[in-house]
Symmetry: C2
Subunit: 336 residues, 2 copies
């Protein structure tokens, strides 16, 4: 589909986002660091390797079961840095606030950010506040950026995934996206859905302690597990094979997905990670993850293959095999 206007789908995290980034943004800002397309940039200042990342949050509603936009914004950037193998140390916060926004809500959100920063062990050290007239923005948008050191010997990137690696998923999928969507649709369930928003830096630190064979890490936010694995397959020029039965989805989340006709593989997560780990170390890493707060439901869901480069396949429950493409079409606008 050719369009001369930005569509919601350009922000989905899926195929059209990918096209916008690769055809317009990468070409315009042409440089090899940006072109790596990992969750954060790996940069070097005075011989110190650093990870540097940014994310803007436009989630609607601002408050949801399991968190709010502020906590999400802190955890999101902490996680993007963790996916580079870096421990986040310092964050910036940029607020764009609509005139008339209740100061009491702002206080709650800022306090959540402070709590999330303390929980993740990072400091919010610089910021900016803009106020726009009523109607020029919807309530509140938050940008967080972050920097952290990458320890020596750590080289993690989507491009480093290699045939034979096991793919570990740190827990259940689709919790965040389905929570936001059911809130917006006003749906009620017996077991209420809850966002999985969480900081993953300590989980990653534990994994790195357990093994030197962690090749790639990604947190499957917008676009979900399906899209993140397609990105890794593309970056590493490898194939990926998933086993449907092994992918954990909570019953209530699966029920909500069925009701709304959504595939949990493409729904956003905000406290989960995917890791490509050398087969020999996979079991050790998995056990180490299960001992961590945000890794208790970790499991191996597939493997990296030499066959089918740049493609993701899934062995289904009934024994068939299907292609898992990138997300096409905007499934859920303003999910994060």
């Amino acid at each position: 589909m050719i369009s001369d206007k930005i569509l919601l789908d350009h922000g989905s995290g899926g195929k059209l986002s990918n096209k916008l980034v690769s055809e317009l943004i990468l070409q315009t800002f042409n440089n090899p660091i940006l072109a790596q397309l990992d969750d954060g940039a790996m940069i070097s200042i005075a011989n110190q390797r650093l990870a540097f990342s940014t994310d803007s949050y436009t989630v609607d509603p601002l408050f949801f079961p399991g968190g709010n936009i502020g906590e999400l914004a802190v955890n999101g950037t902490v996680n993007d840095l963790a996916m580079c193998g870096a421990m986040a140390k310092y964050l910036s916060v940029g607020l764009i606030i609509e005139e008339g926004f209740p100061i009491s809500d702002l206080k709650l959100i800022l306090q959540s950010m402070a709590n999330a920063a303390a929980a993740a062990g990072v400091q919010i050290v610089t910021g900016d506040t803009k106020v726009v007239p009523r109607g020029a923005a919807d309530k509140l948008f938050i940008n967080t950026s972050g920097v952290g050191a990458i320890p020596e010997g750590i080289h993690i990137s989507g491009k480093n995934a290699r045939a034979g690696d096991k793919i570990i998923l740190s827990g259940t999928i689709a919790d965040h996206g389905m929570t936001i969507l059911t809130q917006r649709e006003g749906l009620q369930f017996d077991s209420p859905l809850r966002s999985d928003s969480a900081p993953l830096n300590r989980l990653v630190a534990a994994m790195l302690e357990a093994s030197q064979e962690i090749h790639a890490l990604r947190d499957p936010t917008r676009g979900g597990v399906g899209t993140s694995l397609n990105e890794i397959a593309g970056q590493s020029n490898s194939g990926i094979l998933l086993f449907e039965d092994t992918i954990p989805v909570r019953d209530e989340v699966r029920g909500a997905c069925e009701l709304l006709g959504l595939d949990p593989l493409y729904v956003a997560n905000e406290g989960k990670l995917l890791a490509c780990v050398g087969a020999g170390d996979a079991e050790r890493v998995l056990q180490r993850m299960k001992a961590e707060k945000y890794g208790t439901d970790a499991c191996i869901i597939g493997e990296v293959t030499a066959e089918n480069p740049r493609k993701v396949f899934m062995r289904t429950s009934i024994g068939g095999t299907r292609v898992v493409d990138m997300l096409t079409g905007e499934q859920l606008p303003r999910i994060c």
Copy 2:
């Protein structure tokens, strides 16, 4: 004035912004780095001192004489880092785009960002793109964050200004703010107004080469020269005395200010800096600035005093003295 809602004035860069930052944000994110309140944070990773800064841009209109939102966003963060004595090296870009925004405009803006980055010698290494439904944001908002190394021996902060320092201004004031405002009001002038958006990192590098007595630097954006000098007076617990006759304002900018009833001292600049420099070095620094592209109109506009701590006074053209307070009231929403 007590309010339980965010007002436009909370984003003015003036008194109410200051109150929001000091009473709510600083208290919530309580840490000594943020509490410095310079243009960027000075942080330390693995014994390397770094400057880290963020700014969101919501300027309306997006395109204006002398620049556009993209160029402004790159120069703004380059300048915030320069005001910490750091050479910006890496930038992040966060885009929030309204559904339906013309891709041709996005291309122009991204190309301006790439050009501005090249001109300032920085790389855009990481980014994020969100698209929100029509009406949830006004066209396009851009966040830029940046990091750069602070050279050894450089210790620049508003708190370091000291009695006897000369205050140097790098050129004419109020060009950017009056350009945006007259565009919005549809005013026409014989000599068209033009934003001063420019990268100041090379100017700062030249100044630092010329002297080790540069104590404070600030770029007087939102809130203008009047507000920035009040911030320095507050941080350093010093007084500041200005000489009205020495402050350069272009005729056409002065005319526009008179027409609209605005004081140029409070109007935003996007390519100017204020420096507090030890008196013995001031003339040398001034001459070095005049040799630089963005410092040709540099001049000494006042001095730091032991009297009247935390206050800014101005000796007027007709020989009187008046207090220059922080900006109160939102003069110009969405100026940057």
